[in-house]
Point group: C3
Chain length 134, copies 3
């Protein structure tokens, strides 16, 4: 029912992992149901986004980086690096969890939708996402 | 368990569809459970919002349109129209999925809450939302 | 399956209530499952965030207060107070619902994650959150 995915990110930005989630769904053998994802971190988030044209992802990353700046004089939480507080804000503006229906043994994603882990730290790291199917 | 709603939007903005979801819940005959919604597009999103006073919706639409501008020189993904990249960003800032409890055969919405499809393309289109009840 | 939590907030900002949710999960006696939260208001929201260092929360609150200002000349929905329209916008940018896996009878939160109710009205109030476990 619950499977832990370990995703290695080596830099910030959107990392698609639709195929890993699909593999869990196929193994689960559920025909009709719900797939719930949860990221166990507060400096990385989850997103359903366009997976056809990389320019859409890059614009999205650049837009959010401009909105949520590093070295903002407002920040007092600065001990863990210039990218830490922006990472928490970006996580708050996107999602820690997603729920996607399963139809005919498959994720019911739209034609242009992919599932992404959004790494918000420069260096990335090992990120844990729990996949629950039911 | 999974029902597909086809919603026709003919212009951008917040479109309430609480009654269509309620109909699916009533037909499902589940007394206590969970209703999960998923929009199969990356240029439209889902939102729980105030459904009493239309001025709240209009202010919300105008505020987000001001934050996420068209013709931003940052954008490189421009081939699908001036409203396409803003639509992806607005979707990222709101939701592709929602989960609402079912209590006594009804959606457990608060007094002032409605369920909205937020169309982010000027012209709108035919939008698919999957309703999963369990 | 559904439990209603009544949370009293007496001022705006992030209020952690992880322990109340954990209590519901423990009482439910479910070993592996999913815990879904839903806030029945449009001027308060839900968030998974850092719960170790209060400075991260304060920066997050201050950042969002700066982005979503009171007395914005754009607003027409002003009859319910200067904090009402910003509250709806802040709710739209964060979450009305969350889903968290349950593993070994416990919420599968990461080491630094807590569950927060984000009160967006100055005075706060009595806030209802539905906890569904399955």
């Amino acid at each position: 029912m619950n499977t832990q995915l370990q995703l290695q990110t080596d830099h910030w930005g959107l990392h698609e992992f639709t195929s890993q989630v699909s593999t869990v769904v196929h193994r689960g053998g559920i025909e009709e149901g719900l797939c719930s994802l949860f990221v166990q971190h507060t400096s990385a988030s989850l997103l359903i986004q366009e997976n056809a044209d990389p320019s859409a992802r890059h614009d999205l990353e650049n837009w959010l980086n401009r909105l949520v700046k590093e070295h903002d004089p407002l920040y007092t939480h600065t001990q863990e690096g210039a990218d830490d507080m922006p990472a928490h804000i970006k996580t708050a503006l996107t999602n820690s969890c997603l729920t996607i229906p399963i139809i005919n043994h498959q994720l019911a994603l739209g034609t242009w939708q992919g599932i992404f882990l959004w790494e918000h730290r420069h260096q990335g790291g090992r990120r844990s996402v729990i996949v629950h199917i039911d």
